[in-house]
Amino acid sequence: MAILELRDLTKRFGATTAVDHFTLSVEKGEFVSLLGPSGCGKTTTLQMIAGFETPSGGSILLNGRDLRSVPARQRGLGIVFQTYALFPHMTVEENVGFGLEMRKVPGDERRRRIAAALDLVHLSHLSGRYPRQMSGGQRQRVALARALVIEPELLLLDEPLSNLDAKLREEMQLELRRIQQEAGVTTLLVTHDQSEAMALSDRIAVMQGGRLIQEASPFEAYDRPTNAFVSTFLGKSNAIDAHLEETRDDGAVLRCGDIRLAGPPSPARPGPVLISLRPERIELCDAAAAHVSGRVGERIFLGDQWLFKVETSLGELLVVRPNSGRREPEPGETVHLSWRTEHLRILAAEPAA
C-alpha cells in the first residue's frame, strides 16, 4: 500500500500556480526524488506535505488518511530543511532530543535513542557541540539524525546537499543512501540536481512548471524520456528537429533536411517530431558506415571522458567518448558518426515558443 498519496495537489499564490494538479504515490520503504528546475514548485509541494502551506486544491493522504485537518506538529514526519534549521542555542544532543522530548519519551529511552541516531550518522563524538562549531557536512548529518530519531513514517528532504561543496556532496550522497537503507525509512527527496536524484532514488518524479512530467526509475527516465524537457534535464542529450514520414511495425522513417534516418518503431503520428540521441551512444566509424559526417569544432577534456562538439548537417552534435588512452580526433578533423537505430528516441515536437 502506498504510504503517501498526492492527488491533484494544487497550490496557487495569487496569479501564479506553483503546483498544478500534481499526483504521485510513494510506496513503503521507497526512495523517491522530486526533480525539477528552480522555481518549479518542489519546495511548495514538500511544505504542503509537511503542513506548512495549505493546498489550494487536491488532497494528501498518509497511510490512507487525509492530512487536511492534521496540524503540522501532529503529522509525525521527519523533515530536513534546506538550511538545516538547527536550533543554534542547543547542542547536537539537545537538537536531536527535541522531538523525543515533545513526545515525552522518558529520559533513559531518550538517551538511548539519541545515541543510536548519532551513531547512525557517525557523530557520537560531537554530541556536546553547538551547531556553530560544526562543518556543513556535520550539520547536515545532525539535521538528518534529528529527523530520523522520531522514527517518522516518511522522511522529507529539501535539497539537503545543496549547501555542500561538490566533493562532500558526493560523499554525503553515499552516506544518505546508506542511512536511509539502514533506517529503512520511506523518503521523499527534493532536488534540482539530476545526478543526485539518479544516484539516490528508486524512482524519480520530474516536475516542470508545477506539473508532473514523468515518473519512472532513474534508468527508465534517462533512457526513455517522455519529452524533450526530460531528455535534456537528465544528463546531456542531442535534440534534433525532424519530420516523421511513416511508421511501421519494424521501424520508422525520419527526414532531417535532406538526410533520411531510420528510427525505432514509434506510436507517434507522421509529422514534425524531435529526435533525442544521447552523446555517449554515438560512435566513431568509417566513412562507409556513417549516418552522418562532420568536423570536430571543439574538444573538451573531462577527466574520465572526452566531449566533442561536431558540426554536421544535422546541426551541432555532442559526442562523448570514454578516456581510454587512445588517440582522439583533434579539432578541425573530419569524423564519421553512427549509432544504433534503437538508441534514437522519437518525441513530440516542442510547440513553437
Binding site: F52, R73, I79, F98
Partner: protein
C-alpha cells in the same frame, strides 16, 4: 582595509575632544569646593555629592525615573514581541500601515506629543499620575524596541520554527523554546535602549508631571533654568556614571553600535 592617515587621526582626536568636552566639564565642576560653577575646580571636594543627600527632591526624582524606566520598558517589550513576530513573520494586508503606525512616534515632534498627552490625560483627570506617565513613555519607546526586536525576528530562519513544529512542539513551546531564545539579544537590547530612553526623556515628560511624579531630567531641567549651582553638576555626574556603567555592560553583551543601529554590524 587601509588605515587612517595623519589628517584622519587628528580629525578624530579633535572630534573626540568635542564630544567629551561638555561631559568632562560637568564632572569636573561637580568636585568644586566652592558655591558656584568653576572649571577647572580650585580643589577637590565631595561637598556637592553630599549635598545630594540633603536634597531628597533629587533622590525622589531619581527613584521615579528608575521605576518609570523599568515599568515602561517592560510593558513596551511585552507588547512589541508579539507585534514584531506578526510584522516580521510575512506579508499580510495592512502590515506596512501597522509598522508605520508603531514607528510614527519617531517622526512626530516630541513637543507635539507632549501637549497631546497633556491634553489627553488632563481630560481624563489622570495628568501627573505615575501610570499616566508610564503609558505615555511606552508610546515613545515602542519604536526603539520594535526596531531591535524586528531586526532579530527578520534575521531568523523561518524553517527553525517549522522544524520544531514538525517535531511535534505546540506553538507556545515553539515560542518559548525556539523563537524567544533566538531573538533574546534583540529583546534585551530593546529593553535596555527603551529603559535609557525613558530614563532620559524630558520634552514629553515636562508637560505631564506633577511635583509628586517629577522625574530626574525634569527636576534637573527646572533646577538649571532657575539657578545654577554645582548641585546640578554632581547629580549629573552620578547620572553619567550610571549611564556609562550600563553602557559598558550593554557593549559587552550586545554591542553598542548594534543596539543603536538596530542590525548586525560587526
Amino acid at each position: 582595509m587601509r588605515r587612517n592617515g595623519v589628517f584622519a587621526k587628528l580629525f578624530s582626536l579633535v572630534f573626540a575632544l568635542f564630544m567629551l568636552a561638555p561631559l568632562v566639564v560637568v564632572v569636573g565642576v561637580s568636585f568644586t569646593p566652592e558655591g558656584f560653577l568653576e572649571f577647572p575646580p580650585s580643589g577637590i571636594s565631595l561637598r556637592w555629592f553630599r549635598a545630594i543627600l540633603d536634597n531628597p527632591d533629587f533622590i525622589d526624582a531619581a527613584i521615579v525615573s528608575l521605576q518609570l524606566g523599568v515599568a515602561s520598558a517592560t510593558i513596551a517589550t511585552a507588547i512589541c514581541i508579539p507585534a514584531a513576530l506578526a510584522i516580521g513573520g510575512g506579508r499580510f494586508p495592512g502590515r506596512d500601515a501597522l509598522q508605520a503606525l508603531f514607528l510614527s512616534p519617531l517622526t512626530v515632534p516630541t513637543v507635539v506629543l507632549g501637549i497631546a498627552f497633556l491634553r489627553f490625560l488632563s481630560t481624563l483627570g489622570l495628568n501627573g499620575t505615575f501610570w499616566g506617565l508610564v503609558f505615555c513613555h511606552v508610546v515613545i519607546i515602542v519604536p526603539f524596541v520594535l526596531r531591535l526586536v524586528l531586526a532579530s525576528v527578520v534575521g531568523l530562519d523561518p524553517s527553525i520554527a517549522r522544524a520544531a513544529t514538525s517535531l511535534g512542539a505546540p506553538s507556545l513551546t515553539v515560542f518559548r523554546r525556539i523563537t524567544l531564545p533566538a531573538i533574546i539579544p534583540g529583546v534585551v537590547g530593546g529593553w535596555v535602549l527603551a529603559f535609557i530612553t525613558s530614563f532620559d526623556e524630558l520634552t514629553v515628560t515636562v508637560f505631564i508631571v506633577n511635583p509628586a511624579t517629577t522625574t530626574l531630567p525634569v527636576k534637573l531641567f527646572s533646577h538649571i533654568t532657575q539657578t545654577t549651582d554645582p548641585l546640578v553638576a554632581s547629580v549629573s555626574t552620578v547620572a553619567i556614571l550610571f549611564t556609562v556603567a550600563l553602557m559598558l555592560v550593554v557593549d559587552r553583551i550586545y554591542g553598542l553600535d548594534r543596539l543603536l543601529i538596530g542590525e548586525g554590524s560587526h
